[in-house]
Symmetry: C2
Subunit: 103 residues, 2 copies
């Protein structure tokens, strides 16, 4: 990610149901679609007991546009009906960052 702070992060913490139908396909598709949105900066995801996905954006307006994207709206609806038992979504301003790489 080239952008320096300040920028935005959306932290999406999830507890899945046992319903897997269509989930992996949707998740991969949403990742591809988000990456094409204006203002998209990056995406990270990990899962074991819970899932944590973080997407990075250059503005609140970019987050709002992604929230309202047509296929994403459908995915949000199915997420509530089928795939997620619980989730929490946090919109955050990234103020500072530090990076480490082993030499």
């Amino acid at each position: 990610m080239r952008k320096q702070p300040p920028y935005y992060a959306v932290i999406f913490t999830t507890l899945r149901t046992k319903e897997d139908q269509g989930y992996e396909e949707m998740a991969a598709k949403m990742e591809r679609l988000a990456a094409r949105q204006p203002g998209f900066l990056g995406f990270e995801t990990a899962r074991n007991e819970i899932g944590i996905s973080v997407s990075y954006w250059d503005s609140l307006e970019a987050i709002r546009q992604w929230k309202e994207q047509g296929e994403h709206l459908l995915a949000q609806k199915k997420g509530k009906e089928l795939w997620y038992q619980w989730y929490k979504l946090r919109i955050c301003l990234v103020e500072r960052e530090y990076e480490f790489s082993q030499s």
Copy 2:
């Protein structure tokens, strides 16, 4: 988590080395110690290809105090020497949040 925004999140995204010695023990210990720090609000973690751990704090001062905690300083040193190939740490102001629970 009872605290409403605004509060702080520290997003810690990591790529591990193959060196596992002492890692799980350290990670569990740091989670216990963080929970006893002043201003600690919560912790979430998930790992598969990458690890994402998010800790939540009531102020930047609480984050600073945890960063300087003695055993945590040792863990940070060993993290760079042994356990992490790469990491990125982001300090974020949580501005808004939404929660969903299946009824």
